[in-house]
């Protein structure tokens, strides 16, 4: 059991937490946060597992670096879409008729 493997398991845990949030939460912003958690968990598993077996490995590191930049671009685009949706409908969930849990009076 190496340090890398420990972080790979942590990544599996973070991914599961994110999955739970993605399925269970209704608020779109929380879904987005959960989705980002899933992404971070994936990155941890990818690098941790590869480095546990091969030692320090630049290839998965480069892949994860690419992935992080794509993830932030996707998050920013999702925020633009969510805010547009909120502006047009006044809702922050996809379920019809329900208001957000933030309660903006």
């Amino acid at each position: 059991m190496s340090v890398h493997l420990l972080y790979a398991f942590a990544g599996a845990g973070v991914f599961t937490i994110g999955l739970f949030g993605m399925v269970f939460m209704v608020h779109l912003l929380r879904k987005l946060l959960a989705f980002n958690l899933m992404g971070s968990g994936t990155f941890l598993v990818l690098v941790g597992l590869a480095q546990h077996r091969n030692g320090v490995d630049p290839v998965p590191q480069a892949l994860v670096l690419t992935g992080i930049v794509v993830a932030i671009a996707a998050t920013a685009l999702a925020l633009v879409l969510i805010r547009r949706y909120f502006h047009l409908t006044g809702q922050v969930t996809l379920e019809p008729g329900s208001r957000d849990d933030e309660g903006h009076s």
Partner: protein, 88 residues
């Protein structure tokens, strides 16, 4: 031994912040927890001997994502029809 303690602490904090991102009731609090999670991820990358990813995560995960998300939370608080108003 000390390094194992450190790694254990980082992993525990990662999981704890990840849970509190979803569990905290206020949206603002969730976003702040998410920023803390990003900083801890940067720390984890350093422990995984990936300083490149740690740099990118610190700049992106803590800086840019935080600004974007906090901006969005402020927008949701103001409501859809009065974002020109004074209260922010």
């Amino acid at each position: 031994m000390t390094s194992w303690l450190l790694d254990g602490l980082v992993v525990f904090m990662l999981l704890a912040t990840a849970v509190s991102v979803l569990a905290s009731r206020s949206l603002f609090r969730a976003v702040v927890m998410f920023i803390a999670f990003g900083m801890l991820m940067a720390l984890a990358w350093v422990r995984l001997q990936a300083p490149d990813i740690a740099l990118a995560e610190a700049a992106i995960g803590a800086g840019l994502t935080g600004v974007l998300l906090l901006d969005a939370v402020a927008h949701f608080r103001r409501g859809p029809d009065k974002e020109r108003g004074g209260a922010s």
